[in-house]
Symmetry: C2
């Protein structure tokens, strides 16, 4: 078991992030630069994310399928903006089965092209619409500056692809997915997000509109944690996906695509964890409760401890027991580093008094509770309040660190001190470029919530303001 | 909706197989030769297989993880037999991120090498053992003669990888996995299998012993549907995976690897389906019951039909309703092609009499049943008896078509007529080669069950017999 320490966040946030991933045994680098080995504990978190999000997507009528990893280069080239956006990142198979290939094969960086080639065959009539398809797969994008979970040469994700009769319906569906993502992040991962639209220069390659949910990490940086694209007819025209409409006219379909990836695990780490180690919202935690025996591990204590484990398991709470003969401090630290939401401590003294100590990982509070039939209900309540407390803390941090500066100086100093800044903005790419060069901040999104727009002039350029824009430094 | 017919099995079994996959909408070819698009209905079957097998593996203490798809060529080369076995099949990335790579990267054909490179870091002491890891991933093997599900350039599978303290423990675990596969295939997919060991020339590249479960398809051919390898110390020596044992001596670990793939869907199709279409054992069927409205679709019938759907769903049975205004025959045929185990038919006549018609897909029997509170229990019983009937039918076919010939002529004629043949065998590779050249049959396995060995002379060579061997033509 590794015994490395964890760098304080205040000292080096980036090193702290790596330390958490290492000490909680979430993941490590693979032998090829930018690739990731997701270790069993990290993968159990991904399985929980998959189970929950998959069930929410199926609830919308989405069906899972599988499309090949290998895409003929010619197929990837069919949509001009798409290939332009992705060509610097692709990995190419040129040799297979003992010989050079006639046509190069690209490893999917995303699957619009190979899926839409099939949609063109599958969709004939409005009766085939909407077509709502998803797949959970690995994708490959060559990354120059990889970071575990956040940016990788290979990552895991779900990518949804849909086709609709009208632009309105496609747009509505892209927004419904964004809302589904928002609810999932908030309700399941306790990560509050800001919903908005990307400016045109940040759109997905080939999209008509890109919607995004942006989260704030503890260092104030933004993380784009989910995106949903209204693709318009860009791909349906390139791939000839047509349908006979209700009036028997042949039309191109309207499409969306959308995805959430293992990046969300990075967001989870950077939203809740502390200098002691990982902190997990109970819903996503692979282990909800750990029962630790204090002091000498007697048969009586073992019996009682295992009895508790069985009761918790029977109540649907995945629970582990720690009956090792090592110092309590070492036990505690090990489970704290792994972010187990609730720890139950029981020793000879507690057993005699008929009580247990409950420790909650988020606030590190301890409380004594009677060892009786109400214990399970207490623990369940506690798990719920940890889930909520993590969301509320993150919400408060997001609120406290989002500002609406009144001057350019205030704007720059807010960005320098790691705030989310909302300003009335002209919408010019050139102005956004100047801001990026001067502050490293980018236009994260045009929030759906435009209510507080205080001014009709762009704070930065003085031109007429088009919208309220969120600027921040980002991962 | 495709309206293609289905070739009779007696006419062209191979075409029948393709027709079933197409008309049941399970899968189709991807644009790159040998790749597969698994369509939503086919993928729902794979999801059911994953759920069940994953839960059985977790029950053995196996933990899921994820290892990279891209393997440096040098890593793949470390175990000599392994690279020799796989080099003709690998696909190689030579270009990525806009430039030629310094080292070629192989797309995993299987993940022993990349996983064991990590095991060497993760395993230090006997306290880290056994290490039981699994992953559900896509793999790439260049196939010269691809067939949907059975042999593909890309396929999906689970691959398990373990490390143990002793040879005995590793061997025991490899056999425990084989037993787990056998039980899974028989209890969940109603596919009976023969457990055995591969002769040395059919071993996995780098294995000490390869165990296999072989199933009989309806045409009498064998399908290797799951394998489990005792790897000995071949990989631990190549990858320097050592541990301090209980006596503080440094030793190489003993390993296993094992896998089941989307090939099992091909086996499912070829075990149970008929000339009408797909037949699915209820446990793996994504839709267990379909309620079809007969004749004019009145409001009364719709209400009653939807009520039934809700009752079935509330009882854990995934159920669909067909209330389209098309001819009953067309409805029936569509659901039969897709292999829905139970169909409930209800029309004005049935509603008036307070009954429904139950149709079971496996035997195509119809029965009338009162429309009362016992209906759900009846349907559940029926699903169980379909599950069992399919297993028993397949068992009977396996038994009826397995023979123990007494002469070489009988042996050859049994193989020519598509039988599984058990003979006392000398164990010589050369003899197996002659048999293969003369009959196209291969030595599928040395069955665990050696009880009936009737002779101490090899039926084929006349030499001393080493074991009873199963020969058959195979996919």
């Amino acid at each position: 078991m590794a015994k490395e320490g964890i760098t304080a966040r205040s000292e080096d946030y980036s090193q702290w992030y790596q330390d958490i991933i290492q000490t909680a045994e979430l993941a490590e680098n693979g032998p090829v630069r930018g690739t990731i080995i997701i270790k069993p504990y990290g993968f159990a978190i991904w399985e929980a994310i998959q189970r929950e999000l998959d069930s929410r997507l199926k609830g919308l009528g989405v069906k899972n399928a599988y499309f090949p990893m290998l895409i003929p280069e010619s197929l990837l080239r069919r949509e001009a903006q798409h290939i332009e956006g992705f060509s610097p990142e692709v990995a190419v198979v040129t040799f297979a089965g003992g010989r050079d290939l006639d046509e190069k094969l690209v490893l999917r960086p995303t699957s619009e092209t190979i899926i839409y080639e099939a949609f063109a065959r599958w969709i004939q009539s409005y009766r085939d619409l909407p077509m709502l398809i998803n797949q959970w797969v690995n994708v490959i994008r060559w990354e120059l500056r990889p970071r575990l979970f956040l940016r990788g040469t290979e990552f895991l994700w779900q990518e949804g692809h849909t086709a609709h009769e009208t632009l309105e319906e496609a747009d509505e569906f892209a927004r419904l997915i964004l809302k589904t993502y928002k609810n999932f992040f908030e309700e399941y991962l306790s990560i509050p997000v800001i919903e908005g639209q990307k400016p045109e220069w940040e759109r997905f390659a080939g999209a008509h509109t890109t919607y995004t949910v942006e989260a704030m990490m503890q260092d104030g940086r933004a993380l784009q944690i989910g995106t949903s694209h209204n693709l318009g007819q860009n791909f349906s025209r390139a791939f000839e996906i047509t349908f006979l409409d209700r009036e028997q006219n042949r039309q191109y379909v309207w499409q969306t695509s959308w995805g959430v990836s293992t990046r969300s695990i990075g967001g989870l780490v950077m939203t809740h964890s502390d200098d002691v180690g990982l902190v997990l919202p109970p819903k996503v935690a692979p282990i909800k409760v750990v029962v630790t025996i204090l002091g000498e591990v007697t048969d009586d204590l073992k019996t009682k401890g295992r009895e508790l484990v069985n009761i918790f398991k029977a109540n649907g709470l995945s629970t582990e027991i720690d009956e090792r003969a090592i110092r309590p401090g070492n036990k505690f630290y090990e489970w704290e580093r792994k972010g187990i939401p609730v720890r139950i401590e029981i020793g000879a003294k507690e057993l005699k008094k008929g009580e247990v100590v409950l420790f909650r990982r988020d606030t590190k509070e301890r409380m004594n509770l009677p060892l009786d039939d109400n214990l399970v209900a207490h623990v369940k309540n506690l798990l719920e309040s940890i889930q909520l407390n993590l969301l509320n803390s993150a919400r408060k941090r997001l609120k406290d660190n989002t500002v609406e500066p009144g001057t350019i100086d205030e704007f720059k100093s807010a960005l320098a001190s790691g705030k989310f800044t909302l300003i009335p903005f002209c919408g010019d790419f050139e102005a956004a470029q100047v801001i990026k060069n001067e502050t490293q901040a980018t236009l994260r999104c045009i929030p759906f919530d435009q209510n507080s727009q205080p001014n009709t002039r762009c704070l930065f350029s003085g031109k007429s303001a088009k919208y309220l824009a969120l600027f921040a430094k980002a991962y």
